[in-house]
């Protein structure tokens, strides 16, 4: 368990054994904290609980009572669907109609539900579809479309010493101007799974323990989830102001390169990546303008994860050389 001093509600933090956590997940649910959100997770299927515990066991869990942001429950809708061709029905406590997935899809249903809750209900933070990492006062946002490799790059950086904020949901506190970490399991797809298994294997003796099973045949192909590094979980409340925006482009045949872009282009890529820019309005415009004003911006094109990490570190090092990196805001 990480040091409790790093978490918000230390008075009700609880140290579950895996068995205790399994029992709680199977019954009334366990209250899981990920960054700014606390969600009650109840899982009726044993295989999903096993995967969940493997990925989330190092996260803080709370005993009653805590204020919950969300609840999520995954269960078989009736007796037959619990045991015969089991289907995982996802109840996110909202007016939503998820098509049940085969229970064998395990974590896909849970992560899909958590994504839905944040994407549809989070209005207090400006949200970017972006990989976000931080290190030594550098808050790096990498806005990109699905399939651009941003999850792989964010995860890759996090396993080389960067703090993972998120591989998918960048959150900005518009009052303080700080990036808010939300270090969920990293969603890896298709070829990136093998890449990340090799990448994590270079720094961990038990790399397989960091990954869920691979789920084949999803609408996005094969999916596998990766646990963020322990340091990123421990630092889930350590915020950083954004000061670098990099647009990542994966191209297997490209020569690795850092390309300049205009601030206007970076601004609109941030706007287009934001799920709630239109809902928030003026404050969102001001917040993105502030980010771009404070940031060095570029585009990187890369054929491999190793190249991408090198390009990011080169760009950031040059920025640090210019004396522009700010301080931490933990």
């Amino acid at each position: 368990m990480p040091p409790t001093s790093l978490f918000h509600k230390t008075d009700t933090l609880i140290n579950f054994t895996d068995q205790q956590l399994d029992a709680r997940l199977a019954s009334r649910g366990a209250q899981l904290e990920i960054g700014p959100f606390t969600v009650n997770v109840a899982l009726k299927f044993k295989n999903i609980r096993d995967e969940f515990i493997r990925i989330y066991r190092d996260y803080p869990f709370y005993d009653n009572p805590v204020v919950l942001d969300n609840t999520i429950r995954i269960f078989g809708r009736n007796f037959y669907r619990q045991y015969i061709k089991p289907q995982a029905f996802v109840d996110v406590g909202m007016n939503s109609d998820f098509i049940p997935l085969p229970a064998s899809m395990g974590m896909v249903s849970l992560e899909m539900g958590l994504n839905w809750q944040v994407a549809s209900a989070c209005k207090q933070y400006l949200m970017f579809h972006a990989g976000v990492v931080a290190r030594d006062g550098v808050g790096l946002i990498m806005p990109a479309m699905s399939g651009s490799g941003k999850s792989t790059l964010a995860a890759g950086l996090s396993y080389r010493g960067w703090q993972l904020h998120s591989d998918e949901f960048g959150l900005l506190d518009m009052e303080s101007g700080e990036l808010v970490p939300y270090p969920r399991a990293v969603s890896l797809k298709n070829q990136s799974i093998a890449v990340m298994k090799d990448w994590v294997g270079q720094v961990s003796d038990n790399a397989h323990d960091h990954f869920t099973n691979e789920y084949h045949g999803t609408p996005k192909g094969t999916i596998c989830y990766l646990r963020p590094p322990k340091a990123s979980i421990e630092q889930m409340h350590k915020r950083t102001k954004p000061n670098v925006v990099i647009l990542p482009i994966y191209d297997a045949s490209a020569k690795p390169a850092i390309r300049p872009i205009t601030k206007t282009m970076a601004f609109f890529r941030m706007v287009m990546s934001s799920a709630n820019y239109g809902d928030i309005g003026e404050d969102a415009f001001r917040a993105i303008s502030d980010i771009i004003n404070a940031s060095d911006v570029c585009e990187i094109i890369y054929p491999s994860l190793e190249d991408a990490v090198s390009l990011v570190e080169e760009f950031v090092a040059n920025k640090a050389g210019d004396g522009k990196a700010g301080g931490d805001h933990g």
Partner: protein
């Protein structure tokens, strides 16, 4: 001389209206309650309109034209006359057409309105 104007709200791209029927005598102005908010960078200006929630990017040419409307109400002919003073020449046919299209774009996006 070219210009571009994008409407990026929720990914929609505004199609500029036809300028065939643009009334040159109409006097346009930027409404007092527009409250436009600007971010300006080296290559373009970005304006947020809190009334519509729309975000537009204007290049230097379009920004200059809107600035003339911010100075006070004008008909198209008055705008062309002021623009001529700025460039110290009569705008050619292409430039004039660009100006008309830009003004029509402003009108379509609600950045200016007729009095």
């Amino acid at each position: 001389m070219s210009f571009f104007l994008w409407d990026f709200i929720k990914g929609d791209l505004t199609i500029l209206p036809s300028t065939q029927s643009f009334d040159r005598k109409l006097v346009f102005h930027v409404p007092d309650n527009a409250g436009l908010i600007w971010s300006e960078w080296e290559d373009a200006s970005i304006v947020y309109d809190p009334r519509s929630g729309h975000t537009q990017v204007l290049n230097e040419f379009a920004r200059e034209l809107l600035a003339l409307y911010e100075d006070g109400p004008k008909s198209l002919d008055q705008l062309l006359a002021e623009f001529s003073k700025i460039i110290d020449a009569e705008p050619d046919a292409t430039t004039t057409q660009n100006i008309i299209e830009t003004v029509a774009g402003f009108d379509n996006m609600g950045l200016i309105e007729p009095i």
